[in-house]
Subunit: 277 residues, 4 copies
């Protein structure tokens, strides 16, 4: 654990995640659960089994007994998604007190991609040819430079920091301390490790997942097995699955008849891909 505290995990082009402090470990989860269950279950479960049982049955309160504190440097548009997780404590760098720094996010060429047509909220797999990509990326850099020069000129004229900063784009980097309990951190990770999360926040989630895995290996494994790697099937999807067990192929017509609408048919096939391979 001591090796991890303070170590910077680089994220994006100029950001990082750094574990500042942690309270507890796998044992703390067991210890708290034992308070709930009294002595009654002591013999039945060994620790690993208990942690996995708790995760599987969504007995979430023992996981709240472990607390993580991170120092994060991240672009403002990522911070805006992140802050929607309300059950956490935050201390952010203030653009009213201090000058914002000349640091802006520019995507890596591989991440510069076209709007997805099927997924209204995300990017597709399709990129740009190298020349076009270079043009676009340098336009990002140029715009950041111009914006920061503008900001500095305003400050030089004496404009109050809290006003001058309004010209800075949301690619500007900010920093914060973020403190959260393990249950809420798992919730954050489940949402932000997901393929539908924006790439730029997923990068941070992945770095934090590595840290969490090192601190609470047993709980993290349970999280992977029962949360990340799990699949939730609706009432109707179970009906379709039942016909499959009886040998039917999940054709559009079968699925439609059982009550699975077009859009959900694809979602279903995505979910059970592992069963069909």
């Amino acid at each position: 654990m001591q090796d991890l505290v303070g170590k910077e995990f680089r994220c994006l082009d100029k950001g990082f995640v750094r574990l500042v402090d942690v309270m507890g470990n796998d044992d703390s989860i067991v210890q708290a659960a034992r308070v709930s269950y009294g002595t009654g279950t002591k013999k039945v479960h060994e620790d690993r089994g208990l942690i996995r049982y708790l995760m599987r049955h969504q007995h979430t309160t023992p996981f709240e007994m472990v607390e993580f504190k991170f120092h994060v440097k991240l672009p403002i548009f990522v911070a805006r998604q992140w802050i929607r997780h309300r059950t956490a404590n935050v201390n952010e760098y203030s653009g009213r007190y201090s000058e914002m720094k000349d640091e802006f996010y520019t995507p890596h060429e591989q991440q510069l991609r076209k709007q997805s047509v099927t997924n209204k909220q995300g990017r597709s797999e399709e990129g740009f040819d190298t020349n076009e990509a270079m043009d676009i990326l340098s336009s990002f850099q140029q715009h950041a430079d111009t914006s920061y020069a503008h900001y500095e000129a305003l400050l030089e004229k004496g404009v109050a920091r809290e006003i001058a900063r309004i010209v800075l784009p949301v690619s500007n980097y900010t920093e914060w301390y973020w403190k959260v309990d393990l249950h809420n951190l798992f919730h954050f990770l489940r949402l932000r490790l997901d393929a539908h999360a924006q790439y730029e926040i997923r990068v941070y989630a992945e770095a934090m997942a590595d840290i969490v895995k090192a601190i609470v290996p047993v709980a993290y494994e349970a999280f992977e097995d029962y949360m990340l790697g799990s699949v939730k099937l609706s009432k109707v999807e179970l009906q379709v699955l039942k016909t499959m067990l009886n040998g039917s192929v999940p054709s559009e017509i079968t699925m439609e008849e059982i009550g699975l609408k077009k859009r959900e048919q694809n979602e279903f096939l995505d979910k059970i891909r592992i069963l069909l391979s």
Copy 2:
């Protein structure tokens, strides 16, 4: 109430606050408090007295029984301060799903002011001469125009919305639904109506205060009397006040002797200004 619902209160140059829905009124506070106190206090207090008693003694739960839902249009940098109030429900316009609009905040000339020297986090009273102000304000406008043109060009090239938007400055307007209970709304108002709050969020707090005043007039009056208009004196400040009651003038030396440090002396004098006038 019905007259208020849906009515737009203009804020800043292009924003607004609009009451979408409300649950409860002054009576709901009384009704909830009566559950706690049982029949025992029914005769003693009349409703107004009860509400004022609750406010005075920070019995906050009955105020949580009233709920407000607002539709707000606001610049991103204001949204970033606002969202720090975690005990509320939010649905914000998404720049991943939809295009951000060509609407940016430009301060009114009167609000374009210099950095305060005494207050590290705010603007001073000092403005700019008209020519300089006009120059600065048009530089804001120009920068917004350039940034939006850049954004549109990126979209036209096919860049995913979630990437393209990173060039937009935090003066860009966003929108959200914000739902909060009256206790937490009073907390928001107390902080954001304060002279130290940034002007641009204070404007929204003032509009909301008008709405709240119309919906729960008795509770709002109690809030003004016991919260907004109240003054909190520390142990040492009370000692200084005591010497004043005995006829002494609160000189620097007296205050210093009693234990009030330089910085706090000014804070103290500010607080008791009303007593000295």
Copy 3:
């Protein structure tokens, strides 16, 4: 809706749930989601589809935009389970301000059951023969009477209410106002409608489910289809299911080999019972 407000739904022998007020309905969920998605998705989804999409993908914030306020009369031991749901507002009857009433919960004969051996936290299906049951139930009644007589005697002697009440058993009824948003209410219902929830709180969850169904029928249906009626399969369980699709029977040996431990094998068979019938 107006027919529901104020109507008492009887729960247990002397308790009730009563809808006091509600803010919003199915439309409010759609309205809030539209703010997030902007105009972009307006044509694509009709309202019902949108609500179901939100539920299916756990886009929970639009459900937070509907708010319910209940008046509940319930035994203290039920209140102690209930209050663990923190994201709600509560005003409870106070035994410090007012006398507790002579009302205690006595189980119905059908609910007087033996300790489960397999389920450490619950009752089994096995009851008592009528004579023994009657004896036990009258012992409950007698103990409640004795305790209340004791309480009254203490009050008569002048003992402060806040002390005297400590002799009252947790079967004593209390009352509260409980206000919660629809997302958190669904979470409450999911846990408390579950077969593993204690019967005495499940009764309240069922009454509230009826109320919710009447107020937000579309959202409730989505909740039933995607939450209540859904089944979550872990990574390993999916592997077992895959062998089943290939014609194997989920024998203990197969399951063990794939990595499903004894205890989880039963949980798995319980979950997929619908597929096997």
Copy 4:
């Protein structure tokens, strides 16, 4: 710190508070605040001054960066007051999983007092003569014994634990782990150290205050000076105070004229007692 962890602080007749773990100290508050303020304020404040400034101005987020975990043994009626502080994590002993223990709170003779007439929610200073007190206290003990014997008899008959426990009075001891950040702990302490808090919870608050004071001495001192020892004066009270500075005595008539109602006059005199002594 290490000396404190694990040490039992006895509370009431059979309860305790025990610090299980702590994350951070006074330095963590400073460290978090420095993130917000950037380098700008580094020279101005030394650490102690900064912590006091934060407390004085209710900049609460840096205090949220310190986290405490306690193990507490407490009577159920105390647990019911305590749990109303929602911003904390809890793992409680479960009477469904395990047998409740034969431990019940009996007040010390000095705490056995009569109902207050002036304060509807509390006890007065008036006790009972020794004989009467002994009678009452032994009636508590007897009732606890009878209740527990009843509970055991039910368990012996095979009645499920979750049902049998309903005969146990709220004086029965339970246990929990309780984890909270320093800001919310200060809020808890401010309310529960208050003279109006019920004695039986105040005892726990006092034990925790001692622990907190040892872990974050500078923050605790600031809490005492600016929160515990402070006095909040309303708009009208300030007016009365002003006449006092001009030499007037705060007679009922003066106060009435200025707008201070009867009930508030006493509250005011209570508050400024220190000024009048």
